[in-house]
């Protein structure tokens, strides 16, 4: 069984040497990783990789790089009971409402 992230040698589109300046939200996700992995932290980088692989073939390719990261890190935090589904749901609603209010000003 070949897993979807294990793509070395597969036929692919031509390489386009494109890049962009990372947005603040992307750097913030990178910062979460740096603050939650490593010795004595919440999870190992290998667990993060495993969780990214578990995103599944369709979603994996649909998401951008940092979207995969935050999805995987959130799943790990739930698995490890660092956060609960309920508090995450409430916090997301709170932030969404706050940002919408800010955008409306």
């Amino acid at each position: 069984m070949r897993r979807h992230h294990d793509m070395g040698g597969l036929v692919a589109d031509p390489v386009v040497p494109s890049e962009h300046d990372y947005a603040p939200w992307e750097k913030r996700i990178d910062a979460i990783m740096r603050l939650t992995t490593g010795d004595g932290e919440l999870f190992a980088i290998d667990e993060l990789r495993r969780a990214i692989e578990e995103i599944g073939p369709g979603a994996y390719d649909e998401m951008s790089y940092y979207e995969r990261w935050i999805t995987a890190m959130t799943n790990l935090l739930l698995e490890k009971r660092v956060v609960s589904v309920d508090e995450l749901g409430r916090k997301m609603a709170e932030i969404e409402a706050r940002w919408k209010a800010e955008a409306a000003q």
Partner: protein
């Protein structure tokens, strides 16, 4: 389908928003972990500053020093993290291995399984490095991929692809170009591009 750098436009649950679900998730995680004391707002600020402070210029300095100082070159090939520390560069705890281009070997770096990159030395990777196209193709047709970067490696020179599969990172020490004998170390460092240290460019 390749990685796309921008938030994708289909956001069924946050329509007409200037932000995406993933951005809301990220901020929620940051606030919850801050409230739980996992890290502080100050930790986050310092980490963001550090992310911005790490640029390919760190690697360029190390390469330029290796070009002018044979003993340093040997130490860099032996242990990148220790050698760069001599230059005041903190390359982080993950071991980085330097591989050297010669007249006979051209090295190029990839991580086919995820997108491992010497980010503590060179900063965040470019989008193309993380793309499905690069990760899939460079191990199978490296010369064609290098041509997409305008890099032609002559026949007879071995193209050596390094797939960073373990908890190690790689950087390429490019060959010093001819005609640079009158450049000082800082001038040499300016020649050393990020892509040359990934191996998709030559100088």
């Amino acid at each position: 389908m390749s990685d796309h750098p921008q938030p994708h436009p289909f956001q069924p649950d946050i329509e007409d928003s200037p932000f995406t679900r993933y951005q809301v998730m990220a901020e929620s995680v940051i606030e919850l972990l801050t409230e739980k004391g996992v890290f502080s707002a100050d930790d986050m600020r310092r980490t963001l500053e550090r992310i911005d402070a790490i640029t390919p210029a760190q690697g360029s300095r190390a390469v330029a020093r290796a070009w002018v100082d044979e003993a340093f070159r040997a130490r860099l090939l032996d242990n990148v993290n220790a050698a760069t520390a001599e230059l005041g560069i903190d390359a982080g705890p993950i071991p980085i291995r330097a591989v050297e281009n010669t007249a006979d070997v051209h090295n190029v770096i990839v991580c086919t399984l995820c997108s491992c990159y010497p980010r503590m030395l060179l900063g965040l990777p470019p989008d193309w490095y993380k793309s499905r196209a690069y990760r899939s193709s460079v191990v199978r047709e490296p010369r064609a991929v290098l041509e997409a970067f305008g890099t032609h490696i002559p026949d007879g020179v071995e193209v050596r692809v390094h797939d960073s599969t373990a908890e190690l990172r790689y950087m390429v020490i490019p060959m010093r170009p001819a005609g640079t004998t009158d450049l000082d170390e800082a001038g040499l460092a300016e020649l050393v591009s990020r892509d040359a240290m990934i191996g998709t460019a030559v100088i």
